[in-house]
């Protein structure tokens, strides 16, 4: 109790002594961890570069204008590839995530002991590894190109879609499922009539949401050779062609804005 009696006064404190000490200890250790991390990073930093950075940034910015508009002709294919990587990758992920989600959801999995952990492991490993790392792996294995990009986006998105979907499945209204089961329906029929209609809107929403994220991610896959506009970005930076770089940045900006607009519209239409 943080209330104590001393003479005629009753003292009130927000926390009792033990909680207060714990709070201080946690705050102090957080501060120490931060300072320690900062000193480690600071040791590896060449501070002259950092002090010079504003000047460099100004210099870089001045060399970026005006954007090389005529370079646009060579970018259309890259934009097309970028969109395809995102779209086909999302499609692949959605198709694969659907069954995995059912295997991972506690209320639909065939076996909690054997199948569910495997499904969860697939989800976690897919989610933990950034799409750029997937791309790096796939480029090493199957060579550079759009296919590696599609697969990278696909592998990364399986876990994302499956996780959100299996959470939706676990939250479904069980009385509807019971009602369908009570009619004497078989397992697959219960799935089709009792469960799928309930999660279909969530499923569509998740797919569109992920597609939007994937557009953004597919713009950078080219940095490791997996196709899309990132290839041009990398090449232009290496050639110090700053006017091309600024054009590419504008194109990426435009693509991201358009995809956000499209996904907002589609989500609106579905829900």
């Amino acid at each position: 109790m943080p209330v104590a009696q001393t003479g005629s006064d009753r003292i009130w404190k927000r926390r009792d002594r033990r909680t207060q000490l714990t709070v201080w200890a946690v705050q102090l250790s957080c501060l120490m961890v931060f300072v320690y991390c900062w000193s480690l990073v600071s040791d590896k930093t060449i501070w002259e570069f950092v002090y010079d950075a504003p000047h460099q940034a100004g210099d870089m910015a001045s060399r970026m204008v005006p954007p090389a508009w005529d370079y646009m002709d060579q970018l259309w294919v890259a934009i097309w590839d970028t969109i395809n990587i995102a779209t086909l990758g999302t499609m692949m992920a959605v198709v694969l995530a659907f069954p995995i989600a059912f295997l991972a959801a506690r209320n639909t999995t065939p076996s909690v002991v054997f199948v569910r952990p495997i499904a969860l492991f697939i989800i976690v490993s897919s989610r933990s590894i950034n799409s750029l790392l997937w791309a790096l792996m796939l480029v090493t294995i199957i060579g550079p190109g759009v296919l590696a990009g599609v697969l990278a986006i696909g592998f990364r998105s399986i876990g994302f879609c499956a996780k959100l979907l299996y959470e939706a499945i676990e939250e479904i209204d069980t009385t509807q499922v019971e009602a369908v089961t009570a009619t004497g329906a078989s397992g697959p029929q219960v799935l089709h009539y009792g469960i799928v209609p309930q999660i279909l809107p969530a499923f569509a929403g998740i797919s569109v949401f992920r597609w939007d994220i994937n557009i953004r991610e597919s713009t950078v896959l080219g940095l490791v050779g997996a196709g899309g506009i990132g290839l041009q970005l990398n090449a232009s930076i290496n050639n110090v062609a700053w006017t091309q770089v600024s054009l590419i940045l504008l194109v990426i900006l435009g693509t991201v804005i358009v995809s956000e607009w499209v996904s907002a519209k589609v989500r609106h239409a579905i829900i």
């Binding site: 943080p2 006064d9 009753r10 003292i11 009130w12 927000r14």
Partner: protein, 274 residues
Amino acid sequence: MLRLTDLVKQYKTGDKALKNVNLEVPDGQVMALIGPSGAGKSTLIRCVNRLVEPTSGKIHLNDLELTTLGQGSLRRTRRRMGMIFQEYALVERLTVMENVLSGRLGYVPFWRSYFRKFPQADVNEAFRLLERVGLDHMVDKRADELSGGQRQRVGICRALIQNPELLLVDEPTASLDPKTSRQIMRLIRELCEERKLSAIINIHDVLLAQMFAERIVGLQLGEIVYDGPPDGLTPDVLTQIYGEEDWEATIEKVDDEDELGDDTPPQQQAATSN
């Protein structure tokens, strides 16, 4: 004494919520403000402490003119006016004690309030008030764990710890059951008498207004259409305020229920009813 002179509030949408309201509340008077939804009751009491900025007109609290105050002096003046809210408006994630002490925010510097190091006198006063409303055993409960009636009692303590001269009360019973409503209204009335406070109480319930206020002001479409004692509310007057309806039943019930009113002291009620 509170005096409103030619108070006008026009919202950006063009709606005139208050049209030239003139009103005087003497010290120690408990006044009920009745009227249909949208009559401007809420706007009126929010204009007094300038949670809503009046469009024109003057507000005097004793000799101080409120409508021209700058930020700093406005805050110092708000301390003198305690406010009690519809739906309690407690900060739900803070404890009962923190909510009550938040009434002292206008008096203490930021660092004290940040570290919850309020002066011992404030803490003593908080305990005394909580004891008075029967909640001193719930000091460290979080506000969202309390029942409606308990929350409103905490809200009353928060307003009183400001040591106000005036209480602005906005629909205190709108979300309470009939019995708790009466207890809360009785508590407000008693506390006003104990501390010689004047109060403006917005209230929907005509019956409660008649039971607990010494003066009734009827507001309709931003204009005062009735100002007088509770027993002057005849069917004609009510029709003027609210519109056509059979008012006989409402008025007759007052006499019945006044005699039936239970005589349990509020502390005991607080302990038993929640």
